[in-house]
């Protein structure tokens, strides 16, 4: 075995021993992904179901009873009858219901008039997204009810245009199908950066870096010695997450597993490289930890396109998202899981990730010198 190989093996062995002795690295690599994915995979959902709705029927009749029955049958709503608007408004204010549906006293009469009867919907607009979904579902429920009634009465009622929508890649529109792969990216970003953010700073702070400097070990070898063990850990954690996504959360893996593994390896290099860079620039664990807290989680959560669409952001913010690796990996992962091996998405994004890995590791190499300043 060459001298480099020997030295590298020694460093890797030392790092592994350190990992085993302080279980927090193992916790970061394995316990954290499992715990977080479990919690969020079940916890996060944008699918609105059984929204509590206050129902005010001002003068009950056969027509209104029919409409109420059709609302009760819908899986999107959990309607509760309320005697009047004041009570309904209080329930909305106190957050006991998310919406009020009001059928006025003249509903039955106006329904037969030329201009039609208004159905009043009051939503709590604070959660605008839920409010919009509720409005959409209510509109759908109303249209379905009118069409059914028209058919029963032998009349035909249909809006002039019939819109049929098909959702590709996620036919039953389960938000979990994109949230779980997106969460995997957030969690891998955290694991990667957390694993390495402290390690170089720790050596500097404890003075063991000085000891390393006087040995024949080269800087490249020191860095590789840090990179290899944590890379192995990180990939282990990633495999665990993929298995959970696939079998526990039943997210279909449409694309190839090997492609997912290969792109994950590139991404893991970026995440670890970023941690190493923070660590070598900061040189103090305290500061390295602070920087890692600030630069990893929230950008990966908010700027990666995992929840918030990047195309909607102002141009300046879109430009900023290009600085975060999570953005590219989210595109790759959601495509591989839901859409398949689409090269026009995977190749460019992987190339950028590879470039980022080179930059981060190269900068780390430049910033780490065998010198005491």
């Amino acid at each position: 075995m060459s001298a480099t190989g020997m030295r590298l093996r020694g460093l890797v062995r030392k790092e592994f021993l350190q990992i085993v002795r302080d279980p927090s690295s193992i916790a970061i690599a394995f316990v954290m992904p499992v715990a977080l994915l479990l919690l969020f995979g079940y916890g996060l959902s944008l699918d609105v179901e059984r929204v509590p709705v206050a129902l005010v029927v001002e003068s009950p009749s056969a027509d209104t009873a029919d409409f109420v029955a059709s609302l009760r049958g819908s899986r999107y709503f959990a309607p509760a009858a309320v005697p009047g608007m004041p009570q309904a408004e209080r329930a909305l204010l106190e957050g006991r219901v998310d919406a009020i549906v009001r059928l006025r006293a003249d509903f039955a009469a106006r329904e037969r008039s030329a201009r039609g009867a208004p159905v009043q919907l009051v939503v709590n607009g604070i959660d605008a997204n839920t409010a919009r979904l509720v409005e959409g579902y209510m509109d759908g429920a109303l249209t379905a009810w009118m069409m059914r009634r028209a058919a029963e009465n032998g009349r035909s009622f249909a809006p002039p245009v019939d819109v049929e929508h098909r959702v590709w890649f996620n036919a039953d529109v389960r938000s979990r199908n994109f949230l779980v792969p997106g969460l995997m990216v957030v969690i891998m970003t955290l694991t990667g950066a957390l694993l390495t953010a402290m390690v170089m700073a720790r050596e500097w702070e404890r003075g063991t870096m000085e000891a390393l400097i006087v040995t024949p070990v080269g800087i490249g070898e020191i860095l590789l010695g840090k990179l290899i063990p944590y890379f192995v850990l990180g990939i282990g954690g990633m495999l665990l997450s993929v298995a959970m996504a696939r079998w526990l959360f039943a997210v279909p893996l449409t694309g190839s597993f090997w492609l997912l593994l290969a792109t994950s390896a590139v991404f893991m290099l970026v995440a670890l490289g970023m941690g190493l860079l923070i660590s070598s620039v900061a040189r103090i664990q305290f500061v390295a930890g602070q920087v890692a807290l600030i630069t990893t989680f929230l950008p990966a959560f908010l700027l990666s396109g995992f929840i918030f669409e990047i195309g909607n952001m102002p141009r300046v913010v879109q430009a900023i998202t290009h600085l975060f690796a999570a953005r590219y990996f989210v595109a790759i992962v959601t495509t591989l899981f839901l859409a398949g091996d689409i090269w026009s998405v995977i190749v460019p994004n992987t190339l950028v990730l590879a470039l980022m890995a080179v930059i981060f590791l190269g900068l780390t190499r430049l910033k780490t010198r065998k010198r005491l300043d």
Partner: protein, 369 residues
């Protein structure tokens, strides 16, 4: 007693602010993050790229296409003339939606038969997909209404009239920005507190602190006050930016807001110190900070409603102080809720704060190596 606490507070401030990098870390990023995240966090869609696949040369299709082009929510990114061109566009994420107008569209419209329009949507983000479909359906409804009046068709027997309280235009930024204030406040307090005890333990200075005449309560106060003070100052700055720059209405009273902020900081500082005194090394402290902060943010109801979560997870959110603070922020900002209405958000945070502070103080003496 207060003299000793003050001395420790001064020392903590010096450690936090002396180091140039640490000072920058505390002050600059939260403000930048507010600006960046404030613009990033929104579910409202603008300029959705779509492709038009129109097989109908008639005036009906032309008008529908024109209405779509005139909408600010959509942006025509491509025209398609055969079904084979659709998949590559959607696959490569060049377009989010394809609107396919059937060749018989105008003929069916004139004959009073349902005229077919097909939407193909990229479901890789199913939330975005649903929102885009909703927008398109609204445009089609406007088209329907125009067509019906022009051709004297009977109006539908009932129609929905929607009113949205507290946020009439349903702008989701109004929902997210108060949330970001809460998240950034949590981030700042974690950055200040989570490593502070762990660092002293690792460097051995905590043992020295323990043999001084300072009682654990005094050490606790000395460690907690800097986080509390910096938290108040930065949260105020962030709130000011949210109101003045982003124009989020602040309808409620500052008293309600600051009561909530003080209790939230109590609980966040408490949890941070508890993590810090549980950790033996700074690495463990950092891990603890993440293990608390990531779930605290994701399960707080910030991006996805707590009501959508399964019952077991909803139980877990009860110990998340951010959950209560977000409710307070949103209610005070947008509803103008008075403090009296928020009591049920106040007391759980006070409880979490006191319990975690007590645990941290206990751990000071009982976790020694």
């Amino acid at each position: 007693m207060w003299g000793r606490v003050l001395a420790l507070v001064v020392k903590e401030f010096i450690t936090l602010l002396k180091e140039g990098r640490s000072r920058e870390v505390l002050i600059v990023p939260p403000l930048i993050q507010l600006l960046v995240f404030g613009y990033a966090a929104s579910y409202d869609l603008k300029h959705v790229p779509y492709a038009l696949y129109n097989e109908d040369p008639g005036p009906g299709a032309r008008r529908l296409a024109a209405m779509l082009r005139g909408s600010s929510s959509f942006h025509e990114a491509a025209r398609v003339s055969s079904i084979g061109e659709v998949a590559p566009l959607v696959d490569a994420r060049k377009v989010l939606v394809v609107l396919h107008i059937d060749a018989r569209f105008t003929r069916d419209l004139l004959a009073g038969r349902p005229a077919r329009v097909q939407l193909i949507v990229d479901g890789r983000n199913s939330n975005t997909a649903l929102i885009a479909v909703g927008y398109l359906r609204q445009i089609v409804q406007r088209f329907d209404a125009q067509w019906a009046t022009e051709h004297a068709l009977p109006a539908p027997p009932a129609a929905l009239e929607t009113r949205a309280w507290f946020n009439p235009n349903l702008e989701s930024r109004w929902f997210f920005l108060p949330g970001i204030i809460g998240i950034l406040t949590l981030l700042i307090t974690m950055v200040i507190t989570a490593l502070s005890v762990a660092r002293e333990r690792e460097q051995g200075t905590f043992d020295q602190l323990l043999v001084t005449p300072m009682r654990p309560v005094e050490i606790l106060l000395g460690k907690a006050l800097p986080g509390f003070i910096i938290g108040i100052v930065e949260a105020s700055a962030i709130t000011l930016i949210a109101v003045l720059w982003f124009g989020i209405p602040l309808l409620g009273s500052l008293a309600a807001l600051y009561t909530g902020l003080a209790l939230f900081l109590l609980s966040a500082v408490g949890v941070g110190l508890m993590i810090s005194s549980l950790a033996v090394t700074q690495q463990q402290g950092l891990l603890g900070a993440f293990l608390f902060m990531v779930p605290a943010v994701i399960l707080s109801g910030f991006a996805t409603p707590i009501a959508n979560m399964p019952a077991a997870i909803q139980l877990i959110t009860l110990i998340d102080p951010l959950r209560y603070f977000l409710v307070i922020l949103r209610k005070v900002f947008l509803e103008g809720a008075p403090a009296a209405q928020l009591v049920h958000q106040f007391w759980p945070m006070a409880l979490i704060g006191l319990a975690s502070m007590a645990a941290a103080g206990w751990l000071f003496r009982h976790r020694m190596y």
